[in-house]
């Protein structure tokens, strides 16, 4: 660890592609992961997120002429996993069943010829770091541990080597909800405390939003969008991202002339105004996403001036405690409106199925979408 850290990104992908037989698992992936960052690869199963992680680990090699992978600035396309000095936590933990907890954790130290006198101390420190009592667990076999404890051993086994990057492949998938929340916080904490770069694979959008500094949303072997959780939630670039991260209502129409701050759109049996977007021209088809909490619901005659409004009929009011979901039929669409539960003042309870209403939103509270890749 003596070498001066490289100034640029820790991991860099330049147009990386990976093909298995005829199946393209990764297509033209470009990304940069910064030092100390908690970076998530998020997407549904089969989107290429795990293959991307395995490319970083070195378990897979990019295609011939399939782009360039750099770790700390060094070209690593052909480097074997054991030459990369990384740590990894596997989905099923992959603890060595024939070795005790302490021997599992010591494995990497032994592989790197750590002086024998140092090993027990470092193993103990690693166990304490993941909050496993060495006196209680050191001699146990993986089979004698619970899922959460195995998870901690797997983490200690990776961290004890002080790797440049910690790769995590859906490590929380097998844990129950409570333990999962606990480990989410702990991982986040370790990331900040150690200043170590974490690359985290998950299909759980909520997990990715709460834990990550930045997220790469993947779909169909490509990166659909890369940004901070707020950027991705507030400004989804494609319909896929808008649907996969949180809930979205979609509205469609055609641009009919500029306004002072955007475009007038004919659509959904009405007209509405949207903010400007570089992809728009007069007459262009447009699709926007509006989050349920960006919408509001009013009596048709009570819509505040200047807001976009579409007339519809209440279909159902769903009580969720903190929020209330009002489902409104607008033409052929079913639009979800999330309204905060404000106690005595909560208005949606005064709406019931069949009431004529208008769903309304402010011009800038929407996201103009590009087509899915």
């Amino acid at each position: 660890m003596a070498e001066a850290p490289h100034a640029g990104p820790v991991v860099e992908f330049k147009n990386v592609s990976k093909t298995f037989g005829t199946y393209k698992a990764c297509i033209d992936i470009s990304l940069r992961i910064e030092r100390g960052e908690f970076f998530s690869l998020l997407g549904p199963s089969g989107c290429g997120k795990t293959t991307t992680l395995r490319l970083i680990a070195g378990f897979e090699e990019p295609d011939v002429n399939g782009g360039e992978i750099r770790i700390d600035g060094e070209f690593v396309n052909k480097k074997r996993p054991y030459e990369r000095q990384l740590g990894m936590v596997f989905q099923n933990y992959a603890l060595f069943p024939h070795l005790s907890v302490e021997r599992n954790i010591a494995f990497g130290l032994e592989m790197r010829a750590t002086p024998k006198t140092e090993v027990p101390g470092r193993v103990e420190r690693a166990m304490k770091m993941v909050r496993l009592d060495p006196g209680l667990f050191a001699r146990r076999k993986p089979a004698q541990l619970s899922g959460g404890q195995r998870q901690r051993v797997a983490l200690a086994r990776a961290l004890v080597l002080e790797p440049r990057i910690l790769l995590l492949d859906e490590p929380l998938g097998a844990l129950d909800l409570k333990l999962r929340k606990e480990m989410q916080l702990e991982l986040k904490h370790l990331n900040k405390e150690l200043g170590m770069t974490f690359v985290f694979v998950t299909h759980d959008q909520e997990e990715a939003l709460t834990m990550s500094d930045r997220i790469a949303v993947m779909s169909n072997s490509r990166i659909a969008q890369l940004g901070t959780p707020a950027e991705i939630y507030e400004c989804p670039r494609t319909p896929f991202v808008a649907r996969f991260i949180g809930e979205s209502n979609f509205f469609e129409g055609r641009c009919r002339g500029r306004t002072a701050a955007g475009w007038q759109v004919d659509g959904e049996g009405s007209t509405f105004e949207i903010p400007h977007h570089p992809s728009l021209t007069d007459g262009a088809a447009v699709r926007i996403a509006v989050r349920p909490e960006w919408l509001d619901v009013f009596r048709p005659d009570a819509v505040p001036a200047g807001e976009n409004a579409l007339p519809g009929t209440v279909r159902e009011v769903i009580y969720l405690g903190e929020t209330l979901h009002v489902l409104v039929r607008v033409g052929e669409r079913e639009v979800a409106v999330a309204v905060r539960n404000e106690g005595q003042l909560t208005r949606p309870l005064t709406f019931k199925a069949g009431d004529p209403v208008a769903v309304a939103w402010m011009r800038d509270d929407c996201q103009v979408l590009e087509a899915d890749a």
């Binding site: 989905q91 099923n92 992959a94 060595f96 990776a158």
Partner: protein
Amino acid sequence: MKNQRLPYWLTLGVAIVFLFMHAPLMVLVLFSFNDSKFSMEWKGFTTKWYERLAERQDILDGLYSSLTVGLASTVIATVLGTLMALALARHEFRGRRAMEALLYVPIVTPEIVVGISLLILFMAAHFPLGLGSITVAHVAFNISFVAVVVHARLQGMDRNLEEAAMILGADEITAFFRVTVPQLWPGILSGAMLAFTMSFDDYVITSFVAGTDAATLPMVVYTMVKKNIEPSVNAISTVVLIATTILIFVADRAGREKPLTAEKAPVE
């Protein structure tokens, strides 16, 4: 596990199974100490049949041949069978499925067919019949047993384990010996034991390919029994039985792990 009392009908079942399995062996051991040339009635305790063994050069030669053939064929079959299983379980190649199916052919082929076919092969190849040909024959039928057992073990094994070892700094060879082999060890061991047992007690195939001079223990015993029954047969069988039991016990103990730090008291 909780100590539960078995229902009486299961106790009965277990007792019957136990009797079927072990009564013949008990009788064998018992009569090896019987002071009578005609083994069917008890005439008092003696160890003279064990003393007789030292004089029976044919039995000793047979035992020696069997051990030699057994060990040699077991080692060869275990190495080859394990490699075969690794290829089948870990790599995708043309004809893999066919190979996997063909693995079972030697197991289900009647021994007499295997014996004749091997004899014809040796004759055609002008391969001298003797301990060498017996060893080759045993390797031939043992590879399948080892490969099947090890293959089953490999399929139950998590492939991520090897990757975990590699990311921790182990190269392919180190990962194989430090992680794959220990996982596979019970499979390899039981494959090897199965192979040794098959080799040690094979009569049919062996008698086809033995030629005129070589004789393994089963062949010697069979010849003795056909001529006249002498309780030294019981004695040698008892020796073999005890030796095998010890072997299994030792093999089981050898597979245990040593802890990282010796000074701390074990916890549990």
